[in-house]
Each structure stands twice: as structure tokens, then as C-alpha cells.
Symmetry: C2
């Protein structure tokens, strides 16, 4: 017997959708009661504290359906939450997912979204244990709550940075911001009918757009590196880079009661970022400083831990770069190689402007 | 020095809003790290399991700003989640709150919403430990995640009902549905210019509208009764009545692999419900059966527990009423006093229709 796929959510209803989602979900010994009761029941491991974080993603605020394939959107919706648990040195465990869905949205969109969400969950051993679904009068809305756990002595906060610590960042910064710029320019080009101003992949020149766009649309949470760093006890404070390295280090500085001096030349830029911006008169460092959504880790550590840190992240297949020094003065500054002050846009993303 | 109150959220920005919210929040010994880091850190009590639930409330889907004062909306946003923890026999502990806010929404709206949310939190000893705020391109959107805890042996699920158990419900049902009808009728009356068809409070006749509307807009989660019932070990299954007693008992029946027979005449109706509908040719039982949002408790128990149950809930200042019997046949039916089948709308609220 074959079933015709119901086309929209109004056809299958809320409980039909929940059953459809529940069917794809895996169990785990820590889950006593998963999807389908008033609340999920889980068991925290002995000696562990609970870590919780929540993120809301709104259509046309955090994502555009024209840019984001639903599969990638599903992955990213969970990835940004996993990244929050990682930034505390925590082990991500369980997720709750709420979806507000336009009634006429094709069911395939939700199916693809869920496939992406559950693929990300599976990669990081996170289990979906509950959620909520409802109809949306406007766009597709996603709310994810993630729970993790960790021993009290391993958890890393934003508040532990001390003067003269090194400021570090994993991977590279600015890629996601540049990816966003590429998508925006392509949209403008298609609206104005002008040719998209991108480098041609012909003549042996690499087209870096896919890499850069992918960094925005399908970020990788740095869980293993964060865990290794937290367990090494080498770091004093940590945050994930969601609002731009300057704004996010600013949170560490504020909560630690310190300042910081970032060396512009030391910001790790990807080869793709450098190639794609090589035709510009100056390197667009403002993207690396203030562009959000790279989901790298920014952390601080005493200078005696340098070797340990490099080894630690190397084992996880990524790099970490020292980009500056924690200062006792509460000021946050970015300097050029000659020590002169770099002045550019230094604000992170303000969701209300 | 006096500050001019910023009028909208675009004035104070995301971090201004978070600071504003955090300033009103209380701490508790179970909270190791609250608002302001990548994730909150809390300590589960020894021997307890974690209970988690999440609810999303959307403007013009779950509430209307023209009906709902922001203070009450704040209360209700948390109350419906607290009710989920209660329905498991759990102790509500911590909440995460995400808000998507139209940039031009007056700040007073959010302030009043938060006052209501935190008042409800304080009444039930729930602590706000984190959340997310962002700009909304459409309406005000609320997502609440609640966490609670309970000993494994006390937690009550939907799946424990057995044939011949009594079906019980606390308080009264149908009030919230009738309150909704009153608000809808008043809206229609104001649109058509006709006089609102309500009972006049003059001539000694009580105006029941405020009570009924309040049951919809400011529900009371039955935490103490739920806890007392769970701890008494007298009950076999429990759920909170959010989608209507028939649909919600239906979830118990489905997950317990049983059916049920509900006696129409035994449904507990409030004096307000009876008075307000006294002019109708028949009692609108469909509201009591299928109207949602009463947030009472529906539960099942062996007949030997009757006295224990009545005592248990009485101590919590409410009543519980036996409304039917769990059956072994999977059918769910409602019968009149003479045993004949009552036929009316039997579906709960489908959020996608």
C-alpha cells in the first residue's frame, strides 16, 4: 500500500507532525521518558551539573528561506546551541525543539529541516527529547533549548580572564560575515539585473564563495576542542564567537572586569577570505572583528599554557591563534603592527537595530 | 540624575534589554551561574531526575494583544509550562525565556510582561536562569523552557492507566473555553456595532464574565495538588488539561493502551459556567469536553484510592471529581445519564487547522 505524501501541515495536524518527528528520533540510556508526555525525564550523570541554553531563530531575521536549504537550517538551528554548551566546556546531551510553521509550508521543508537537525544531533550525540509545534501566522520560527552536563571543576565561564592572559581564537574569523556579504551582493545583483560581482572560477582561480557561504549556513560547533581545553585546565575564560570576536571577547572582558588589546595582524583569516578579498585596497578586517556567526571559540589563558593549548586543539584537527593580551585597564582596543590604534566599526550584531 | 525611559527596544538594544531583565531576577542556591554566560549552570538535587518541557506562544495564534494585558500574558507564559511539570508530579525549578519583539513595541509592554512572568515565577519558586531575545518582523513571540526535578518513584506519566481505574479531573472544566467565547462575541459585537450580548450585572444578577475570562487569561497551574497526588502514590496516570479534557484524557488512553467512558453529567462545571449559560436551551457541554486551556489535572486511579484522593486535593484548596472509568476497549466515549451515547464535537484544538 502506498501513501500519498500530505502536502502541508494543515493536512496532518499537530499530532501527526509530532508522530512524524518522533519516528526519526533515537533513544539513549539517559532518557527515561522522551517525546510524548507532559515533560521529558532524563538522568544527569553522577557528580555533574546541568548546563542549559536556548536560542530562537526567526525567518528574515536570522535566516532567509531563499538562502538556506531546510536541511542546513535544521543543522544550524542545533549547531548554534551545541556551540553554547561547548563554550562552557560542557558535554551536549539533550535538546528540545519548538517550531512555528506557516500552515501552507510544504511538508518536505519540515522533513528536510528535521533530517538536518537530527543529522547534527547524531554527529554530536545529542538527543531530541521534546518540544512544541504550532501554526505561524508569519514565518518559520525555530526555538531550540539544549541541555548539557559537566563536572563543576571543568566548566569554564566568561568571568575568569586575568590581566596578561593571552587572548586566543580557534579556526578563522570573518568567513561567515564574508559569506553573508556574498549572498547579499548576489541578491542585489539579481534584483538590479547586474552581473554578480564574483571572482570567476575559470583560469585556475579558485571560487571561494561556496566555502565562505557554507561557513555562514552550516557552521561547525567546536565541541571536541572546547572539551579538550576545558579538561586541560589551561584556560581561564571562554565564549563562542556568535556576535563577532570583538563583541564576544568584550563579554569576557566585561564579566572578568578586565580589558584587552587585540593585534589586528594576528587575526586568523582563512585562505578563502584572503583570496576573495585580495582585489580590495585593504583587507576588510572589520568583518573579522565584528562579523558574527563563525562559532569559533574565543578563550583566555596564562602564557605558560601556550604549548599545551596548541597541542590540545591540534589533536582536535583545528588550530588556535593568539590574537592579543588581556589588560587590566577596562578598555578594549585593536592595534596595528606599529602599535597605532585601529579604528573601525567595533560593534557586534545588535538584533534590534 | 533622571533617565528618560527609552521608548522602544531599538533604543536600548539586545544587551540593554537583557540587563534590564536580569536586574529583576532572583537567585537561588541551586543556580551556580544564571543569566549572562553561554549557558546557565544549575545543580540537580541528589537522587532526582530532570524534567523538561517547552512551549511557544505566538501573537494572534495563542494570544491577542487586544485581549491580554502584558502582565497577565507574562504570568500565563510561565503558568502553562509550570503546569506541564506539575502534570508529571514534578517540582518546577528553573526557566529559560526567549522573546521575539517587534522593534517598535513600547518598552512598557515588555516591562509589564516581565513583571507578570517573574510574579508567577516567584509564586511557584521558579527561577529564570537564561534565555534569548531578538527582533521580530511580525508579532510578539514567547518561548519558555521549564526544568523541574523529582525522584524517579514519584514521577507520574500518561502511560499508567489500567482498565477500571476512575478518571478524575481537578477544579472545573470549560471555563476558559467560555471565557474565549465571551471575548470573541465582544469582538464581533464591537465590529458590527451591535450591543455586546452579555448578562447585565444589574438587578442582583452576577456578571460571571470576569471570572470566566480570567480563567482563560490567567490560569493557575495545579502544582501543590499534582505534587500531593504524585507523592500519595494513589494515581496511575496524569496530564494537564490544555487541549480539552477529552483530547487530553485521549492522550492518557492512547499511551496506556486503554479506552474510557466519560459521564457527561459528572463533568464539573463552575457556578459561573452554569449561570452564564443558563439561558441556553442546553448546557454547552462541548465546551467542557473539548475547550482547552483550563490547566486542570486529569488523572486516573484505582477505585480503592477515592478517599485518599479527595483528601489529598482538598488540602490543596481545590476539588477533584470522578468523571468516568478507564475501559479495556480502546474506544473513548461520552455517555448521558441514561447510558446513551453523547455525540458532539470531540476533537481537541488542532493548532494547524
Amino acid at each position: 500500500m502506498t501513501h500519498k505524501l500530505p502536502y502541508t501541515l494543515s493536512t496532518i495536524g499537530e499530532f501527526g507532525l509530532i508522530s512524524r518527528i518522533a519516528a526519526g528520533v533515537s533513544g539513549h540510556e539517559s532518557i527515561i521518558t522522551g517525546i510524548g508526555d507532559d515533560a521529558a525525564v532524563t538522568a544527569i550523570s553522577a557528580g555533574m551539573q546541568l548546563l542549559t541554553s536556548t536560542d530562537m531563530l526567526l525567518e528574515d531575521v536570522h535566516f532567509r528561506r531563499s538562502w538556506h536549504l531546510p536541511y542546513c537550517l535544521g543543522r544550524k538551528s542545533l549547531a548554534v546551541s551545541i556551540s553554547d554548551i561547548a563554550a562552557m566546556g560542557g558535554i551536549p546531551r539533550w535538546a528540545l525543539l519548538s517550531l512555528a510553521i506557516p500552515p501552507k509550508l510544504p511538508l518536505e521543508f519540515v522533513d528536510d529541516f528535521m533530517r538536518g537537525f537530527l543529522a547534527m544531533a547524531s554527529e554530536y550525540q545529542v538527543f531530541l527529547i521534546g518540544g512544541d509545534t504550532c501554526s505561524s501566522r508569519s514565518g518559520f520560527t525555530v526555538s531550540v533549548t539544549i541541555m548539557g552536563e559537566q563536572k563543576p571543576g571543568i566548566i569554564v565561564r566568561r568571568s575568569g580572564a586575568v590581566p596578561d592572559d593571552d587572548i586566543w581564537v580557534t579556526g578563522t574569523v570573518g568567513d561567515a560575515a564574508l559569506g553573508l556579504k556574498i549572498l547579499e551582493d548576489a541578491d542585489i545583483a539579481s534584483l538590479t539585473g547586474s552581473k554578480q560581482p564574483k571572482q570567476s572560477p575559470s583560469n585556475g582561480i579558485v571560487d571561494d564563495s561556496p566555502f565562505l557561504i557554507n561557513r555562514l549556513l552550516d557552521p561547525t560547533p567546536r565541541v571536541s576542542a572546547a572539551l579538550a581545553l576545558a579538561e586541560s585546565a589551561a584556560i581561564t575564560a571562554m565564549i563562542d564567537v556568535s556576535d563577532g570576536i570583538l563583541a564576544d571577547y568584550g563579554h569576557i572582558a566585561e564579566q572578568s572586569g578586565v580589558g584587552g588589546c587585540v593585534q589586528l595582524d594576528d587575526l586568523p583569516l582563512s585562505a578563502s577570505f584572503r583570496r576573495h578579498t585580495a582585489h580590495l585596497p585593504v583587507i576588510p578586517y572589520h568583518m573579522a572583528l565584528s562579523g558574527g556567526e563563525d562559532y569559533e571559540l574565543c578563550f583566555t589563558a596564562h602564557r605558560s599554557s601556550r604549548e599545551k593549548i596548541v597541542d590540545c586543539v591540534k589533536k582536535c584537527g583545528i588550530a588556535a591563534t593568539r590574537i592579543g593580551i588581556v589588560t587590566s585597564s577596562p578598555e578594549l582596543k585593536v592595534v596595528n603592527r606599529d602599535g597605532s590604534r585601529y579604528t573601525a566599526q567595533t560593534e557586534g550584531f545588535n538584533h534590534f537595530i
